[in-house]
Symmetry: C3
Subunit: 341 residues, 3 copies
Amino acid sequence: MQHLTLGEIAQLLGAELKGEAGYPVTGLATVVKAQPHQVSFLANMKYASQLEQCAAGAVILHPDQAHLFGGNRLLLVNPYLGYARLSQAFAPADQFSGIHASAEVAASARLGDQVNLAPGVVIGAHAIIGDGVTIGANTVVGAGSSIGDHTRLGANVTLYHGVELGRSCTVHSGAVIGADGFGFAKDGDEWVKIEQLGGVIVGDFVEIGAGTSIDRGALDNTVIGHGVKLDNQVQIAHNVELGDYTAIAGCTAIAGSTKLGKHCTVAGACGITGHLTLVDGVHVTAMSLVTHSINEPGAYSSGTGLDKNQKWRRNAARFKQLDQMAKRLKQLEAELQQLKG
Amino acid sequence: MQHLTLGEIAQLLGAELKGEAGYPVTGLATVVKAQPHQVSFLANMKYASQLEQCAAGAVILHPDQAHLFGGNRLLLVNPYLGYARLSQAFAPADQFSGIHASAEVAASARLGDQVNLAPGVVIGAHAIIGDGVTIGANTVVGAGSSIGDHTRLGANVTLYHGVELGRSCTVHSGAVIGADGFGFAKDGDEWVKIEQLGGVIVGDFVEIGAGTSIDRGALDNTVIGHGVKLDNQVQIAHNVELGDYTAIAGCTAIAGSTKLGKHCTVAGACGITGHLTLVDGVHVTAMSLVTHSINEPGAYSSGTGLDKNQKWRRNAARFKQLDQMAKRLKQLEAELQQLKG
Amino acid sequence: MQHLTLGEIAQLLGAELKGEAGYPVTGLATVVKAQPHQVSFLANMKYASQLEQCAAGAVILHPDQAHLFGGNRLLLVNPYLGYARLSQAFAPADQFSGIHASAEVAASARLGDQVNLAPGVVIGAHAIIGDGVTIGANTVVGAGSSIGDHTRLGANVTLYHGVELGRSCTVHSGAVIGADGFGFAKDGDEWVKIEQLGGVIVGDFVEIGAGTSIDRGALDNTVIGHGVKLDNQVQIAHNVELGDYTAIAGCTAIAGSTKLGKHCTVAGACGITGHLTLVDGVHVTAMSLVTHSINEPGAYSSGTGLDKNQKWRRNAARFKQLDQMAKRLKQLEAELQQLKG
């Protein structure tokens, strides 16, 4: 267990400490659950009233809210960011070290210094594994793939051949990078496979969630920018390009050759069809379907709101008459005009 | 192959047998396909007419429908439940036994009695594996995780560290439990990772489908109640709580910190956004998006019905004019009122 | 690296070569990126103007477009199909050969000739592996399953017991075939598991994407026809039947016992509810929900179009008043009629 004093934490976060610099803490907790050996934080004023009962050893607060807590305070303009940074100090260390005897490393693969390979890891021919890389149990790295320094792969991850992963990335279990894109040409009734000859290039500081798939390109590469964050079960088709720092929530699917700009956010369960271009700073709300390119930053949506099923059924039935309703409305307007005229 | 007599089955199900107690059967089949060595069942009156041609050795029926079949009958108030119970008697036994030589079990892990570990299983430090647990090939159990008695994990499952799985659960292949929740704080243009320090607690008699992911909590735990059933490719984000006996169909995604009550059902391909609360007994129909808390039990829906593409296009175009149409309608009503007045 | 002359390629594709038969090339590339050692193709007239600057060693073109490129040309009625066929000639060869020492093959399993088993592969009892089958690292094949000749499985694939896979199929990493269908009977508050006693039968020339799941049948089998193509993260529930040459894009979910005809296409992120029948030649557009059987071929859709969030919000609010609006419209029509009358 990690021990830190409030003085050390203040220095780590660049926070102003109001309280006891030598006070020791061992973890983080929510305002409601925090104990005297833990630090908490207030990032949302909705929870401000809970601070009265808060037993935390210290609370990270905006300077303007300093008066809301009577105990030790760590004052920061962005308490949520402070919480994020402090969480890293309390993260558990890796659970294995060195190269396990059961890992199968091809003779032609190149391993950096201080590489951790868990049991059952398989590293293909000519793969290049950077310094300080940690690879979880039963993960498979294909031939000729490369992994940048300090990147961490969970257990049961699959990297196909020819995948370039940057530095300091995190890839969670069940993720598959470099499988074939979905490409076929019709020959009469049958589908003829288009072999996917491109690769996947992933930038630095990228996080890839559990069960997420990123397909290799058909001819050119699929490209994931620096600092991109992909949640679980995201599907990235062949030749997609994601701009730096774009974040995509769970179960969203992006079809082939679509390009997203930088600093976009796509909420969960969205779909984006193929061959589109979205500029920087586009935000798509949950379960929306994007079917055309977007040239203007901002928030976009599709779908209908939730309703009680019985009421929804009536409205959904009317949706199928909508064009007819619009024509009747126009007709009425014309008739009324005539009547008035 | 399992052999049972109808007398044994009647006792197993608590059914009234009309027929030959010593008649032997070896399996279950549908009314249409059943042979004399198999049992069938009638759970839906839609298929009642098929009973005339049914060759089954016996049929499970509601007492009121006893006259519909001329052969051996097993009479039960709930034939579908009888089918479910009988299916368990005919399930194939596990395919391996004992601890395979290639399984890697940390020295500090604790294994119960009669544990089956298939080839390539990896059990981390301080993990606790209950009695009668069966773990499929190449499945990975993280450090400090625990698995209750008689729970069965498929092949290629991943449990991260600090996951508590209850008794008599089933986890299918490709499932990932305890990966990091999707949490980041913005620091200018960049995302700063919030380490996910909570765990996952799964109750007893829970089923988790193939490729389903359940993320660990940010600070507190993600909690799955007793008897919860999750289909394939379900995504459960950090700090979600699912009440007992709630069932969720394939490809549904639930965002962070949302709480579902007991006895809810969520159909396939739904989305539920974050920080919501749904009371007990909420039912969400397929591909609906839930964006607000639900305080009343019942069925809820969103979306529009399916239509021929050409017709749908016209109506969807009108959807974008809907607010305008509503205003024009109001205007017409006012003008007509004036005209009549 | 594969070397081919244009003469060899012309013969392979059945193309008419206008140019140097002995000219050697080593790969394929897009019109924009192709170098003199590569072949390109023009499948879409949108890109015709790029041919002027094209540096490719040869271009595959429709005979009518032969004049658009000055260099070596391979003339074919379907250049896209030519590209597909040629891509297969340039696909990289498999990366391992023979049966790795760490593969665990049950004594009762039967292996064909020239089988490749990568490290960590597990083959269950009585499994049958055809000639020329290649199985990627840490993939698990359950007891009694069979794999047809020349089928290729990626790394970390799971086949449960009793799965029949045809000839010349491709299964990508993380796919799970034969997990239990989602079947439970209610017993008061609790769910009683219906053991899934059927299997999965997959035809020949089928492709199954990364992370896709195909559940085993409850009593009968789940059936995937010949030449079916499934993209990544597709979910096929128990007892679904897919007709020959049907193709389904990423993240689509099909619920239990639904039957699709031949030559259907389902775009990404769709849902199809259970117990439906879709005839041959049905095409479903992206993120549509199919809730009733379809008896007529053609294109089908549901949902609404994308809009700016602010505008969408107003229209979505009106959707909830749609039935009311329709009634008001009808009322207006009646009143106007009266006024005119």
